[in-house]
């Protein structure tokens, strides 16, 4: 089909072809096309089959207000083709058809619509209840539009931005641009959102006269040039608002173009004030077969021609209720379309200039007439027009019917933020009523029809927003007000609710195939409020988000009930007001993990890394995931482990001890310099949340460690529990600035002695002691003798920047002993054999300090400290029903169960925390949390693993620890 190519309003470049695939055939569109306009230019007129009745559907609004052009694009179902920009190589498919769009074998359903009244499923399929599962299967086969392939994988780049501004303007039409310019002229930072690809809104595609010698289109270009030239206005095109919230938060998403780094991006804009200038959409005209392909709205017909260069028909009839319809008729006539008749619903009120232009062109013009029925099976062939009372029905042949009851404000930007709208009898529209704080409406959304009033209301809103930002004087504001007051008020609107028809095939909601007859049925069943009727008939719940029925439904319900204007209630709109891809909300998947100073060296040594909390840690050092060599090396020789992920803190100040006594269960005041104190933290329920060691560095100065997982919230925790006390202490999180090397095994001392010049003998530096020294007279080291893995063990705390050096020094010194890396999994097994717990593995949310056998840490005499957890621990002390931590070994040298397996008898009695086939002990062992009566030594544990059926394995409770019960090895 040939495009009009000499119009100044065109947004396409006919010289640049874009190829795409539709129904496995190659087609071409041009740059600037949407998928729908490209298909239209290739002669496609039926774009979809409707949800229930499989009626043919075509281009109607061009703005995605209904599902009429929903197709599958690149594997994504339900894409609204009319506002999806065509891209090279797109694969477009029809959906919800059996056969083809032209010949859908399901279209017979349209004839048996009488079988499916409103609320059909609700009221029929549940009696008797047995029917439902069968009925459901059948319904599922036919319900819904597109189908998502289970193999489908979302591709593309999704991003998110969180910009801030002084003023956020939603809508880049004349009012929005005027508002943005006003605010930026006053020095404010402005964000302007426009859902189409160009600024200009309602002016942009119109060639009629704005003022002497200037068209609306020229005026739009003039304004947008000013906006684009304004330094402080940040313009986002192809960016739809999807929600507005209090505190002036605006959410939206932007579709990326060829040169953007994203396909779509989610936006969350925070502004001091917000201007809603979203303008109007059209109110669909209700008559029989009002959604036949070939029927479209005024703006749609005009934009088809002016924006995309597509002549929307050969012979057109107009049934309209707004001057835009007359303007469209004149434009299409001048582009060569035969206009058979323009029937205006309004009996008076048309702009005389436009009427004169109709007369000049000999276009038949009727007032007080309306379309009552469209004819033609797959595309409109003729239309019946009649008076508003339904008299003198007359048929007109046509292949285009422009039908629209008029304009209706798009108020979702206001109502979603809990502003209200009110029915206005003069314009026949729901106009903004109570506005949320610091939010203002501007332009056509307020009912204005006059171009100058629209722009002026935008400038006024800009002033109001500027006043919120303290950038506008009251004089400037009242000047702007006076200027608007001198311009025309909103014009009277068309108030026809429905053509004089019975309504069996008059569709109030295209997405859900809801007819006027369905609405009648719902009202007769007793539903009286539009919001409930919407639920019962599902009118307005489809992809168009109420765009088509939003205005007509409340009007029709009020008319049916004979209500007065004031009591007309609109239905609610909820975010996202524009359908948004989940992928857009999800954004991109950033892999953000911390790496220790030893990361690179451990990778070079063959470390296999896993994401553990916020860190990446070396879990294994060979492909043997049982870590036999690593474990045996630590037990018999010496191993080196990177423990840098431990939480590390300094706390100091006059009240440091008080703060520590508040959160740690032990008596901190008794810690002696040079000694290490192991302790734990509980929450207010006595449940153990963390453990670590403390050392006293000086008077009122302590250094302590936390588990890896708690490092991020330790300062928050301590400050929370001391927030009333006004104590004088300070904390420093040293987790990232200090690294930790764990040197363990019977040969650990021999290795360390080689690089240290202090006495390392067991008498000079014993178990549970702490020393500070320097390596090479330079590197400060805090060294602790601990025994987490149950062997002679030194933990070296070293500034991160020295970590590599110390690691290399130890590697060099340990060469003669063949020192080896060990990873987190080997450590896990080693400490499990020793029955040293890891919180989160040997505990869950409900496990308290006593349950895991750490009650000895708790000093119960420091009630003045108000230790977190102490009250609850005292209360839980004699509770026999709690789970207890026990060690167990497997019967008959059986294999260890999986972590998390259940302890059962007739019911669940506990679970396995950690269990492994121990190379050291040569049998399957582990720890489990079991109910109190199962905790005695010698108790047989019946273990149930996932999918084991009737097979059980058995273990036996044994004393702790499993390895080296006297603790000789870590003290040697």
């Amino acid at each position: 089909m040939n495009r009009l190519n000499a119009l100044p309003t065109l947004q396409i470049d006919p010289s640049r072809k874009i190829s795409f695939i539709y129904r496995n055939k190659q087609y071409y569109g041009v740059e600037g096309d949407t998928v729908a306009t490209a298909l239209y230019s290739n002669g496609i007129r039926i774009f979809a089959r409707s949800l229930k009745y499989h009626r043919p559907r075509g281009i109607y609004s061009l703005d995605g207000e209904c599902s009429n052009t929903c197709m599958e694009v690149d594997g994504i179902p339900n894409v609204r083709c009319e506002n999806t920009l065509l891209k090279d190589g797109m694969i477009v498919k029809e959906q919800n058809v059996v056969g083809s769009l032209e010949n859908d074998r399901m279209s017979f359903i349209d004839k048996i619509d009488w079988m499916m009244p409103a609320g059909f499923y609700y009221s029929t399929m549940h009696k008797p209840a047995k029917i439902w599962p069968i009925a459901m299967k059948q319904i599922r086969k036919v319900a819904g539009l597109g189908v998502l392939s289970p193999e489908f994988k979302m591709t593309g780049k999704y991003d998110e931005i969180f910009p801030t501004a002084d003023v956020c303007v939603i809508g880049g039409g004349p009012a929005g641009m005027s508002a943005a310019l006003e605010a930026s002229d006053k020095g404010l930072r402005v964000i302007l959102l426009e859902s189409r690809s160009v600024l200009g809104g309602f002016f942009e595609y119109r060639s009629h006269e704005y003022k002497e010698g200037q068209s609306y289109h020229d005026r739009a270009k003039e304004l947008s040039a000013q906006v684009e030239g304004a330094e402080k206005i940040r313009v986002f095109t192809n960016a739809s608002m999807i929600g507005t919230y209090n505190n002036n938060l605006v959410t939206g998403f932007q579709i990326g173009g060829k040169n953007d780094s994203f396909d779509e991006r989610y936006m969350e804009i925070r502004a001091i004030s917000v201007i809603v200038a979203t303008g109007c959409i059209e109110r669909p005209l209700l008559f029989e077969n009002n959604e036949r392909p070939g029927i479209m709205q005024m703006g749609c017909a005009l934009r088809m021609a002016h924006t995309y260069g597509l002549v929307p028909g050969d012979t057109a009839v107009f049934s309209i209720g707004h001057d835009l319809g007359i303007e469209t008729a004149i434009c299409l006539h001048d582009l060569g379309v035969k206009i058979a008749c323009v029937a205006d619903i309004r009996k008076s009120g048309q702009a005389s200039k436009l009427v004169a232009q109709l007369t000049e062109r000999n276009i038949p013009f009727l007032t007080g007439w309306v379309a009552t029925k469209a004819h033609g099976k797959k595309h409109i062939k003729k239309v019946t027009l009649a008076t508003l009372e339904g008299r003198q029905p007359t048929n007109y042949d046509c292949d285009l019917l422009v039908a629209s009851a008029g304009l209706t404000p798009l108020t979702s930007g206001i109502t979603v933020a809990k502003g209200t709208v009110k029915y206005d009898g003069h314009t026949g529209c729901f106009l903004p009523d109570k506005m949320p704080a610091k939010m203002y409406a501007a332009g056509r959304i307020m009912g204005f029809d006059d171009a100058l009033s629209i722009e002026s209301s935008g400038r006024l809103a800009g002033c109001r927003a500027a006043l919120d930002c303290e950038a506008c004087s009251t004089t400037e504001l009242s000047d702007a007000k006076n200027q608007l007051d001198g311009l025309p008020d909103p014009a009277a609107g068309c108030k026809l609710v429905i053509a004089p028809v019975e309504g069996r095939k008059s569709f109030i909601c295209f997405d859900e195939d809801t007819t006027i007859k369905n609405i009648n049925q719902a009202i007769e069943k007793g539903f009286d409020v539009p919001e409930l009727i919407k639920r019962f008939t599902s009118a307005g719940t489809g992809p168009g988000q109420g765009g088509i029925p939003g205005h007509n439904l409340p009007l029709y319900v009020a008319k049916y009930q004979g209500m007065s204007d004031v009591s007309i209630r609109s239905t609610n709109v909820r975010p996202p007001v524009i359908p948004t891809l989940i992928a857009t909300y999800a954004g991109s998947n950033h892999s953000m993990f911390k790496r220790t100073p030893m990361d690179e060296m451990q990778r070079n040594d063959g470390g296999i890394f896993r994401n553990i909390g916020v860190w990446q840690r070396a879990r294994y050092f060979s492909s043997d995931l049982s870590c036999k060599n690593e474990i045996e090396n630590v037990r018999s020789n010496v191993g080196i482990l990177d423990g840098s992920t431990l939480g590390k803190f300094r706390i100091f100040g006059p009240d440091a001890v008080k703060a520590l006594e508040r959160v740690f269960v032990s008596d901190i005041s008794k810690i002696k310099e040079g000694r290490i104190k192991y302790s734990a933290m509980c929450n207010d329920d006595g449940c153990v949340i963390d453990d670590g060691v403390l050392i006293k560095q000086g008077e009122n100065d302590y250094y302590f460690t936390t588990s890896t997982g708690r490092a991020g919230s330790t300062i928050e925790w301590i400050r929370y529990h001391t927030r009333y006390d006004d104590w004088d202490f300070h904390m420093v999180n040293l987790t990232d600035s200090m690294g930790v090397i764990n040197l363990s095994g019977p040969n650990a001392r021999k290795v360390l002695e080689k690089i240290v010049d202090i006495d390392m003998s067991n008498t000079a530096f014993g178990f549970s002691e702490y020393k500070e020294f320097q390596l090479d007279s330079t590197i400060p080291v805090r060294c602790m003798r601990l025994g987490f893995v149950g062997e002679l063990s030194y933990e070296l705390h070293v500034p991160s920047s020295y970590m590599k050096t110390v690691w290399l020094m130890l590697g060099e010194a340990g060469k003669e002993y063949n020192i080896q890396n060990f990873g987190v999994e080997a450590q896990n097994v080693l400490r499990m054999e020793k029955c040293h717990i890891i919180l989160g593995q040997e505990s869950e949310q409900r496990t308290n300090l006593l349950d895991v056998g750490l009650g000895f840490l708790w000093n119960r005499n420091k009630t003045e400290a108000k230790t977190v957890g102490a009250v609850a621990l005292r209360q839980a002390e004699n509770d026999q029903t709690r789970l207890k931590l026990v060690a167990f070994k497997m019967e008959n040298k059986g294999r260890a169960p999986r972590d998390g397996a259940l302890i059962v008898d007739k019911k669940v009695r506990g679970y396995i925390c950690t269990a492994r086939d121990s190379f050291t002990l040569k049998e399957g062992v582990g720890m489990a949390l079991v109910e109190g009566d199962l905790s005695k030594n010698g108790t047989r544990l019946e273990i149930y693993e996932d999918e084991c059926g009737d097979d059980r394995i058995y273990g036996e409770v044994v004393p702790m620890p499993l390895y080296d019960p006297k603790g000789i090895r870590m003290k040697m």
Partner: protein
């Protein structure tokens, strides 16, 4: 998500930066006479006001301080302490 919180140190910031710390319930009670019931009430029971309440927030992605604000739970707007006092008098 639409929430903003005014940190006494950093000013009005996006709600994402903060962690909720519960209703204001006063300092930790003296341990001596606590019953399981009264302790549980202190730790777990909330007033769940539909209206203005005083509550704690932590500026986790900011200065790291705990502070309390007054917030209308029905609108998510912060309320000035002065306003609260005036309304209580009235």
């Amino acid at each position: 998500m639409a929430l903003t919180i005014t940190c006494p140190i950093c000013g009005k910031r996006n709600g994402y930066e903060f962690r909720f710390g519960g209703e204001e319930k006063g300092p930790r009670p003296v341990e001596k006479d606590l019953t399981p019931q009264s302790w549980c009430d202190y730790v777990h029971m909330n007033n769940c006001v539909a209206g203005v309440q005083e509550e704690w927030w932590f500026h986790k992605d900011g200065c790291g301080s705990w502070f309390s604000i007054y917030r209308d739970t029905t609108t998510n707007y912060e309320v000035e302490k002065m306003e609260v006092a005036n309304n209580e008098q009235a």
